[in-house]
Amino acid sequence: MNGLRHWFSGVHAWAALIALTLALLIFRDALAWSVRYPNEWVVPLTPWLNSGMNWVIDHFGAYFRAFSDTLAVVMRLVRNLINALPWSVVLALVTVAAFALAGWRLALFSFAAVLYMVVIGFWTQAMNSLALVVLSVPIAVIIGFAIGTLGFASERADRAIRPTMDLLQTVPAFAYLLPILLLFGFGPVVGLIASLLYAVPPMVRNTTLGLRSVNAETVEAGRMSGATTAQLFWRVQVPCAKRQILLGINQTTMAAFSMVIIASIIGGTADIGWEVLTAIRRALFGESLLLGLVIALMAMVMDRLTARIAVREITDRQDQSFAQRYRYWIIALILALGLSLLAQVMPFLSDYPREWRYYPAAQLNAAVTYIVAEFSTSIDLIKRVAFFYVMLPVKMGLERTISPFSWGFTFTDTLKVAYAVAIVALTGVAWLRRGWRIATLSAFIGILLFVGITGMPWPTMAGMAVLLAYQVGGRRMALGMAAGMGFLLLTGIWQEAMLSVYLCGIAVLLSFVIGGTLGVLAAEFRPVSAVLRPINDTLQTMPLFVILIPFVMIFKIGEFTALLAIIAYAIVPSIRYTELGIRGVSPEAIEAGRICGCTPWQLLWRVKLPLASPVIMLGLNQTIMYAIVMLVIAALVGTSDLGQMVYIGLGDGDFGVGIIAGVGMAVIAMLADRMMQTISRKQARN
């Protein structure tokens, strides 16, 4: 038993797997099943799921419809209410709120943002999106708070809640739009329910975390003051956890908004997301940019406002009179009433006149066309280089990529032998210099680049994943990995899953390298940090669609565009965590390094980066998660992976396909997450 364990934790198992891979590859013509998982071995889950779904709809559909009808009534009410408000009143309220919370800079920004929505002429659509958020956030907050409290109170409940929340957040949104659509019917209610499902988890997590991290002595002091359980909860624990809970509300708001936008893909919502999507689909770039900006601005204003509430300092308000204490409420009330009355006399205050509208879509389109035409050669070059020299080799392998058309020569047998010799030599050198881990990696990459990720035999790929899991996290992790791999294989989505891994892998690698470099620069040079921070903030609050727009404009539809969009989103945590990690290195360690005579370069590589690595690993983990989330959205611009499958399932109304692909993505995401977390924890311990 012990010998076996030893065998599995060392180099032997890897060597055996790599040898097996080579063997399978050499005989792959005879063993076709080893490269392409045979269809006959697939468990026909899809029809089962579909018939199960039909059964549920037949038997319980009426209840779901009744529920959604009730919700629809409330929704219409909120929508009408918000739409009834003159734009000038909303503008005034948002501005006053921004000023009260964060001062004149945010007030100015919010004012400009709201004014932009008015001037561009998509006010109603924007307000329809807002109505969904306004309705879904309070519900999500209440539900999330209740579940989060349950998770805090009962360890056992928490053990069930945690993975459920993980699943809700990692199953791509498109995958659960369809079941909601089937159960609750067509219309804005779908957006509402989807956004609820997506917005509850951050509230749950932050509530539990906040309540857990209340200072133990403060709680004891509360108990010693003679608090009953209810008093302790409402007067001690909740107020002490307030900041974290408010942070949860901020995240919930952003999640709800981003889901509202995504959910408009099913249509019938007459909101701003739908407008943007239509514009993107019709390749109207000017429009999509202008409308995307509306979404971006809404997101930024909402984020800044809710975030400010969370970080506000507790201030002394006891000496103030009623008027002083509620001065902003009073001002807001007066302004709202005044403007409403004024709008009766001056109707332009409530209905912005069409002739005042400024909508420079045509000009923008012309500008984009001009730029793309002007730089078409360099754009093409970038695309070709990335495609032929990076993406295709990983996807299809060098053996199928190298041709006179792509690389300018044929991949002759002599060259193949030379490639093999080079890889063997590299592996040998790596073994001697850096140990077996790096050598294994080099051998693996050598094979991968030769046959491509789609040409790798699945038995050994799955085997290596399980072995890696075993070495990282022991038997439990290996079991989880085996179960995950089994799911991907048995449901017949292995091929698509590998394509997801390929796209994600390249994106993550590039994001990590570029983001890490930027993060180091930001940590070393303040101006870099000052420039990067607002960009990061913006990218992170932006609903995912919007990120696609500029890339589609320049690079058109295709996998490369998807890759860039994924990088644009996934790079943020890499930058942030690297900067955070390096800044967090204790000054004493750095001084010690200096005293030892480190050059700045050595200081970075020998002291700062190793000490910051647990945090940087967490950043890598986040980057992977972000990449997987963006992968689904990127399916809109043409990919061929699980994300596309989810999207197709939604388009065809095929519940089974969509949900299997969705769960497949969640499986990949959760496995990657657990592995990275374990690695980060191990590093932190060393």
Binding site: T218, A221, G226, C240, K242
Partner: protein, 377 residues
Amino acid sequence: MPTAAPEPADATPAASLVPKLSCKNLWKVYGSNPQHWFRDNAVTTDPVALAQGMRAKGLIPAAVNVSFDVAKGEIFVIMGLSGSGKSTVVRCLSRLVEPTYGEILLDGEDLLRKSARELIEIRRHKIGMVFQNFGLMPHLSVIENIAFPLRLQGLAERERRSRVEKVIALVGLEGREKSYPHQLSGGQQQRVGIARSLATEPELWLLDEPFSALDPMIRRQMQDEFLSIQRKLRKSIVFITHDFLEALRIADRIMLMRDGQIVQIGRPVDLIINPADEYVAEFTRDVPLVRVLKAADVLAEKVPEGSAALPGVDAETTIEDLLPMLAGRHDGLSVTRSGQHIGCVTPTSLIDALARRADLHGAAMRGTKSPAVGDAG
């Protein structure tokens, strides 16, 4: 073994004092199903062996058969290094931690038999507690923090205000009423903690390392203020500390703990002159003897004839003050307590007392058991 049984004579305060709090055979065991270890009577017959048995099975006995009494108006100090179980014991006294076994009698009533509701009432009126890191509510101002327990009771605004003003004056926080905890220094924050614990006018006052988080200068000042508050209020106090000098300054009696067990209970001076074992001796090693020992502690064993006629000193005189008086006086001094002659000190008796002590420490340093320890055990 450093786990000598506590001396029974010292476990109870002097007969003239009525115990306010009485802790009997208290156990707190962490681990799975600790209750089942307490079915037979091994608890009372051989607690040390029982604790060892628990440890062997992976349980953690944090308090092992702890028994002591606290008299009305007494300052009872529980001392020990971190992990010795002192915080567990004080939390058991207030049932912040649920004891596994034993009795805790407050005014003769067993706290462990109280319902949740009764316990809340007791905490609201009878027990006050101060915490090492203050345990203040960050979202409440000073005045709101202090009034917090009163608010929980639903006390009327006027009554609340008068009580809060009283304790604010007592701890000297006037002028800071509207500040928030994060705006105060550590010493100020602990004053708030003290004021809050006193606002309910408790009879039993528990202080869990109240000054450990403070700077040494502030700590000393706070100790003085604590003593002056105690002179006014005469609470029954259980005070936790890991600092022996602090214990010396404030304690009526000290209970020294190690690995959840009592090592010794006694007056501060007892721990110094008659340490129960090397552990205690080691603990008290750095104590400046001349400031701790009093004339009454170094009396000559054989009273020379006519010593009553010698010039007198008070029994409470420290040796530091005694030394210059004794210089050049071979016949010694008469020691009196409230005018009563109780014996005499001579240079020889003084040297003997100090030498006994030094011998003990030498033994502790060499790691051998000195005869004195054997006697004490």
